[in-house]
């Protein structure tokens, strides 16, 4: 029953927002409906269509509350007109295509670009994922009052600035879809960058992001990037068990690949293929394809490096960034040898001169070429720039351990 609740919550809230235009009322009435369900379903069993049942109860509750509180004649009018247009006292839920769209409307509204990014993230977790304000606050390491204020402000702006509750029209859609996917990927990365212990709440964000990614892939079956993002998150997540050993970061090269989640990798691979068959590659699909190459290789050396180098070339074309160029140089170094990698790296140095990753990569190439003095100087540069303790210890080990 708890699972049914979680799955249906966003749907019920979304439909109530469309009908009443009031986010707080929608959430409260959804809550009331779930409380009623708890009682009724225990007695009579779970109905055949739990979502429709919950929506109907929440909707009636909203109507009652609007009537009783007489919040505003206009608002009440709207609900009455809405009811009348349905024509029957027993609403017909047979056709729920419109209701299905409500969740998508909610997605696009929560991720509207006129909202600050942190507000989009908070609202998505609160309204779509159903996390409590306290949970979201802990995940983002801010006081609960701050997070509550952020959510209140975002809802106020949606209402008062006239942000529409709708699926954007075709000419806005590509850009808005990109925005929605970016919010979900940001959530995932927030969780992924946390590793252990006190960070457990944050790692929970990965599971939330994957859950949201799954519903986006469901809601937008024709959008290959939604599939790509889901595949990418599944692949990263499948490898997460191998990322640390005794609390220390292990690079992919040295990870125990038997600890990776093979079933999840298989699922993601199928998603990547399905997405790429549509012939509209985008940054998430390409990154997923790269991650799939890594995930399916039996060892670091057996990895299909020429393929990865080619994919990074494609990624650099559709979504150029210094980090992509850096990764491309690593792949070229693996595919064609350290000298080729070093040459490629030289072309990207300007943009990344303050990144420890650039110097660490250069150090590794130089060492492979036997240029020890230069390699040591590059490690020193990397160490001077690194901020994360785990990464610092890793670099120090690499610097002194010449046999690796």
């Amino acid at each position: 029953m708890a699972a049914a609740f979680r799955d249906e919550r966003a749907q019920v809230v979304a439909t109530l927002i469309r009908l009443t235009g009031d986010w707080d009322l929608a959430e409260e009435c959804a809550q009331d409906a779930f409380a009623a369900a708890l009682e009724t379903w225990r007695r009579d069993g779970v109905p055949r269509r739990p979502g429709a049942w919950l929506t109907m109860v929440a909707r009636n509750r909203a109507l009652d509350r609007l009537r009783r509180e007489a919040v505003g004649a206009a608002k009440l009018q709207e609900v009455i007109v809405m009811r009348r247009s349905e024509g029957a006292p027993e609403p017909d839920f047979a056709d729920d295509s419109g209701i299905e769209d409500d969740r998508l409307r909610l997605v696009f509204t929560c991720c509207h670009p006129a909202l600050a990014l942190e507000a989009r993230v908070a609202l998505t977790l609160r309204t779509l994922a159903g996390l409590t304000t306290g949970e979201i606050a802990r995940a983002f390491l801010v006081p609960e009052a701050t997070m509550a204020q952020r959510i209140v402000r975002a809802k106020r702006k949606i209402r008062n600035a006239g942000i529409p509750f709708r699926i954007p029209p075709a000419h806005l859609l590509p850009e808005r879809v990109t925005g929605v996917l970016a919010v979900v990927y940001l959530l995932f990365n927030e969780g992924y960058s946390a590793t252990e212990g006190a960070d457990l709440v944050r790692t929970g964000l990965c599971a939330e992001a994957i859950r949201l990614g799954r519903s986006l892939a469901d809601l937008m079956p024709d959008e290959p990037e939604a599939l790509g993002l889901l595949a990418l998150m599944l692949l990263h997540d499948a490898r997460s068990a191998g990322r640390t050993e005794d609390g220390e970061l292990v690079t992919m090269e040295h990870q125990d690949r038997t600890r990776w989640d093979a079933a999840q990798i298989e699922e993601a691979e199928a998603l990547v293929e399905r997405a790429l068959r549509r012939g509209r590659p985008g940054p998430y699909q390409i990154q997923a394809a790269i991650a799939a190459c890594h995930a399916t290789a039996s060892t670091w050396d057996d990895t299909d490096w020429p393929q990865i180098a080619a994919l990074y070339g494609e990624l650099a074309r559709v979504a150029p960034s210094p980090v992509v160029e850096l990764n491309r140089a690593v792949a070229i170094g693996m595919a064609e040898g350290p000298a080729a990698g070093l040459a490629r790296l030289a072309e990207t140095e300007g943009a990344l001169k303050d990144s420890h990753l650039l110097h660490a990569t250069r150090a590794e190439f130089l060492r492979s070429l036997g240029r020890e003095a230069e390699a040591d100087a590059a490690f020193a540069q990397a160490l001077a720039l690194v901020a994360n303790d785990q990464e610092r210890r890793h670099l120090e080990r690499r610097r002194t351990n010449r046999s690796m």
Binding site: A114, A116, R156, K157, N160, A161
Partner: protein, 100 residues
């Protein structure tokens, strides 16, 4: 005439009486804007539309409204502005001539 108030001031209890009396016949349009925290700023770069949450500039005072004034001279506009509750209540009025 840009009506500027300290950021979180709502001014709901402001007394517009004297201002409105003086403004009769001179103010051709008046608007009161919703808070700057609900503003959206639009930029376009290379065909891409960039949105940001909030006003174009973070300032201590924000524009709360705009009045279009038809005044014979600046002194008349200042006299009118000095009666506006925003000016009396800790805010300011910026008077800007309009291109003819």
């Amino acid at each position: 005439m840009l009506v500027c108030v300290p950021v979180e001031e709502t001014g709901d209890d402001a007394d517009f009486g004297p201002y409105l009396a003086a403004a009769r016949g001179h103010v051709t349009g008046t608007t009161r804007l919703r808070p700057a925290s609900e503003a959206t700023t639009v930029r376009a770069e290379g065909g891409e539309v960039l949105l940001s949450d909030g006003p174009y500039a973070e300032t201590r005072e924000v524009i709360a409204g705009v009045d279009l004034v038809e005044a014979p001279d600046l002194d008349a506009a200042i006299a009118l502005a000095s009666l506006h509750p925003a000016v009396l209540g800790g805010g300011a009025i910026e008077i800007r001539p309009v291109w003819k």
